[in-house]
Symmetry: C2
Subunit: 269 residues, 2 copies
Amino acid sequence: MPFKPHPPCLSASTDAPATAGPAVAPEPGAPGAAFSPLYRQIKGLILQSLDRGEWKPGEAIPSELDLAARFKVSQGTVRKAIDELAADNILLRRQGKGTFVATHHEDRVRFRFLRLAPDDGQHARSRSRFLECRRLRAPAEVAKALELRAGDSVVLVRRVLSFGEIPTVIDEIWLPGSLFRGLTAERLAEYKGPMYGLFESEFGVRMIRADEKIRAVPAGAPEAELLDIEAGTPLLQVERISFTYGDRPVEMRRGLYLTSRYHYRNSLN
Amino acid sequence: MPFKPHPPCLSASTDAPATAGPAVAPEPGAPGAAFSPLYRQIKGLILQSLDRGEWKPGEAIPSELDLAARFKVSQGTVRKAIDELAADNILLRRQGKGTFVATHHEDRVRFRFLRLAPDDGQHARSRSRFLECRRLRAPAEVAKALELRAGDSVVLVRRVLSFGEIPTVIDEIWLPGSLFRGLTAERLAEYKGPMYGLFESEFGVRMIRADEKIRAVPAGAPEAELLDIEAGTPLLQVERISFTYGDRPVEMRRGLYLTSRYHYRNSLN
DNA sequence: AAGTGGTCTAGACCACGAT
DNA sequence: TCGTGGTCTAGACCACTTT
């Protein structure tokens, strides 16, 4: 044994957070006080910084040693917090370079949210045609999904997505009006790149997670015309609710996918 | 600084694996020698033990300290290997009790592979009716998916899954004949519990991962009759390939889901 | 050469579960 | 009380990238 045991300096969950610890509330006597380890509290602090925009998508966050000094914990504890954020696809580690805030401007992130893949593997150029973009009062169903009050302002966007000139997806997208003030059909149309990239760059709203419900439904007359198919053709209906930091819902979307040459891919782990 | 640096005892990736290291080939001068850290090699060794059945589903594996001694590495290294296996849902940690091999006899695992959920949240009793179970020579498409030679023996199972007496799913399941020797319609019918539970208990084949391709298709006449619906009704078609340890494909399955009262749920992370 | 993340170790202590 | 996994720390060294 090369060492003798060291003096008990700042023994984590008992001393550290309560005395010399970081800006973290250990809630000692709280009733439903769910115990959470230090690294998870650090994770929460990093998430707060991301949420308030201290580090923007694509940028590097401070090094592990810097963060350790800032939060007054060891590098290992910061590392474990970042490990989880990287596993959540919120941060991205690059050895030798630093740790970066994930962004929808990378294909890696984009394909996590675009699950439609060509049967033959040949990815064709995609193009959006925007049918409308208007403000209205939230219908009850939308208000509930977005956790708004019934009647709050929402933005409705409708578009047709084509792959290689073949119309394949109809999307109906509902967004909280308060977060997307200047959003217009023109800005959507002139923007190059994925829609979530625009949301993140222009409106500071980053989607980090989504839940989907999928069904098979028959095409109605309007959908059939938009997709250039016969009414009644089976379509994949994908209802999505997207969340930003803190599990706050910020998008409700209903997609209709034509799956004759494309399929929705999924992995069960 | 309370300490002075200690003497360099067994400095990991240079000394340890090469000299006193475990039964692991570091392949020093190999041409395409992809470097892999110690903990990942340990992960591989644990996976091998699982694959050869040294520890069975539901059982506990040895403690971290035991494994550390066995592989001649530190507890921390074993821990990191187990961390990854737990993240892969292959192992399951229970504080104070030990680390266990995941099993399809738990709901937690079962619902990872059964994505169909009732719209109203009321899970009804499910029941399988087996239409057939027979052996035949693998069609080209099946052979390719299961990485068999065309003409190898395969087992074909067809069944209807009902939720609360309402027929909802038609499954067509292809399995390698060599792995499922005694599989018959009777054994399937008399078995209580999920099918993957039977596969794992009776045939030693554990599914740990699956890829799915999803489409909307119209019901044909035979399917319509089985599901008690009209021909042409849109159905969700789910093509699945399941893998066991080492990414070996061991099942090809085509499901047709009636999604009028159920939906396929998915999370995008 | 300096800075970053990545690996490995060793040890102390905590939380949980069974005895 | 003991054994298990869980947390935290400290330090050495490796691998990668940039200066």
